[in-house]
Symmetry: C2
Subunit: 369 residues, 2 copies
């Protein structure tokens, strides 16, 4: 295939891949039932636990992030189980859809797209319905650029009501603090192409003791995503099904890089760059979807398409004339916003480039601040 | 990570990756909702149809081969559906386990490990039980090195009884002829790390009109493996969930290589090398698990561990002293056989190297022909 030109890829995942991760991924194939692989998966699993800030079991699945989230549902629930799924965007909606596909009796709680999930509403719902078994929450809603208050939600769900807590952390883990043990999260799923700076194709999930207990009576059917198989294989340094080896090589290098930088510094870098992005957007005279800094995501920023501006023309010119790839909206906001991803492999200059290009393109597509 | 030394990797997948596929996989990340990806997936899908010899829909999933096989079950069946699953090895057993995990009422038909599935037995079973909805068959049983007579089975299942036919073609497709349309197979699943010469992490599945019809009433729950979502996304040049981009780059190059070589030549190469392997094994005085050339697989050869020989010592010396990686057995044959993979990226010299090394190692581990 013709070699592609590297772009300033500012979608909220996949992210650009650092050169030495690309290099690591070119390592030759090995026997995934052999000693080299056993050493590889054991090392990466231990390092992943540091990034997840957990002593829980940590499993690596060959699937997109959605696969890990499906695993969190089918390994803890039975058809007919009453669960709360709180949603304020396309990925919250997806969590609802998945739980319903497997027969959960979902109490869907909708919050405004662009706003946070209200912990108080969850407290009230848990109080009103004592038979709720689990609460499903998105940590960082990629479609709107909101970081939901999972710490507060966890205090209620776990501390006050002692229910299962399943977290979609696809676009937050490794970028925004999510201390799995400190917040007592039962299942936390994320994916390789976001904070981990490697290509899509792997997902990671932490599983608490409480989640394993739930699994023993959980009757939703499962095979590929049966975490018992994954846990048993891991004890022998294997996976139940052939793993994505190239991404495993990349992951090993990526985890070294993250832990060398130090997770506090990685979180700090994302916070600084998130702020830089929002400040830059405001300075251009554009309106943020999420004005409240308390909930603004440090991994993705959604910007309202100004009146009179053609979103597709804007994104097209950014891509073809400035080599900057932005993302459109999703779901009901598809045409109303555009998004800048700033997670994983990102530094300030990447964002400065975006702002410089927007400054040129915006007037060309009819923006009159 | 420390760079690994390339091995003569003779497991039945993953296979070594040709250099220009490795090179293609280092292409930079792109927006998987953008125009470059749409062009990529459309091209590869059309080329995959040529390899599958089908006009059916062809879908690419980010999962191991087992994921595609789970998709074939959950998209066509409902809990309680009576199905036949014929098994003569570890992967036949896995197909049974998957169908049972999702609540199918499985008529399990066991055949000797190392022997073929008997089409006549399937005819009798279909005759005796008119309420059978589907037949699940492995084309090439990786654990024993047997190619099952799928053409004859298909004539019975489709031609005589008009039932759904679901095929595990993980270690055959692209290596051993499996003309999906000519044999009228409803669902055929395979994986990237076998005949396709790319790393694990993608699987491919063909879906007949008849299978889509079955899907409309199929009640097994599904989300990540819901092929309706994949089909709908493909119409827009996308996948429902973030795809394994690196492997997609490799796939594109691999399909060019396969089609340039010509599928007839690719099949011929596998047939020649399969024969070379079996002849070499016999010449060393070893016993094949599959003596009957009519069923001997052209992608993997199983060899009985000779009396007095320590299988682990044999494989260990081959790996550490001769850089040749063989596979052990699986399931109930774990310690009784060892296997040589000869599929995907393989030529005669790879096999000659194996035989030369075996000639040295066998006497060292107690072999006395």
């Amino acid at each position: 295939m013709k070699r592609m030109t590297p772009q300033n890829l500012r979608t909220p995942g996949p992210t650009p891949i650092p050169d030495d991760i690309v290099e690591a991924m070119t390592n030759p194939m090995i026997n995934h039932r052999g000693p080299e692989f056993a050493a590889l998966i054991k090392k990466s699993t231990e390092q992943l636990k540091q990034v997840f800030m957990t002593k829980n079991d940590l499993l690596i699945l060959t699937a997109s992030g959605t696969g890990a989230l499906e695993a969190s549902i089918v390994n803890t629930l039975s058809p007919g189980d009453r669960v709360i799924a709180a949603t304020a965007g396309a990925f919250g909606d997806r969590f609802v859809d998945m739980a319903e596909a497997y027969g959960a009796d979902v109490k869907r709680m909708d919050f405004e797209w662009g706003g946070p999930i209200d912990p108080e509403a969850i407290r009230k719902a848990l109080h009103d319905e004592p038979n709720i078994k689990a609460v499903l929450v998105t940590h960082n809603e990629t479609s709107t650029g909101v970081t939901h208050p999972v710490e507060e939600i966890a205090k209620i769900v776990k501390g006050e009501f002692d229910k299962l807590l399943l977290i979609d952390a696809v676009s937050s883990l490794g970028c925004i603090p999510l201390p799995v043990d400190a917040w007592d999260c039962d299942m936390v799923g994320t994916a390789s192409q976001k904070g981990f700076m490697i290509p899509p194709g792997l997902s990671f999930i932490s599983v608490s003791e409480r989640a394993w207990e739930a699994q023993q009576t959980a009757k939703m059917p499962r095979f590929y995503f049966d975490l018992t198989l994954a846990k048993r294989s891991l004890e022998g340094g294997q996976t139940p099904f052939t793993p994505n080896l190239s991404a495993m090589y990349g992951l090993s290098r990526a985890l070294d890089l993250l832990l060398e930088e130090g997770m506090e510094n990685v979180f700090g870098r994302h916070a600084t760059i998130g702020q830089l992005t929002r400040d830059g957007v405001r300075e251009l005279g554009l309106k943020l979807l999420v004005e409240d800094e308390a909930y603004a995501s440090d991994t993705v920023t959604a910007i309202k398409v100004p009146e009179g501006v053609d979103q597709k023309a804007l994104m097209g010119k950014m891509r073809t004339e400035h080599n900057v790839v932005l993302a459109g909206g999703q779901g009901k906001l598809t045409a109303d916003i555009f998004r800048i991803g700033h997670l994983g492999s990102v530094d300030k200059s990447d964002i400065t480039e975006v702002m410089d290009a927007l400054r040129v393109v915006l007037p060309e597509v009819g923006f009159d601040p």
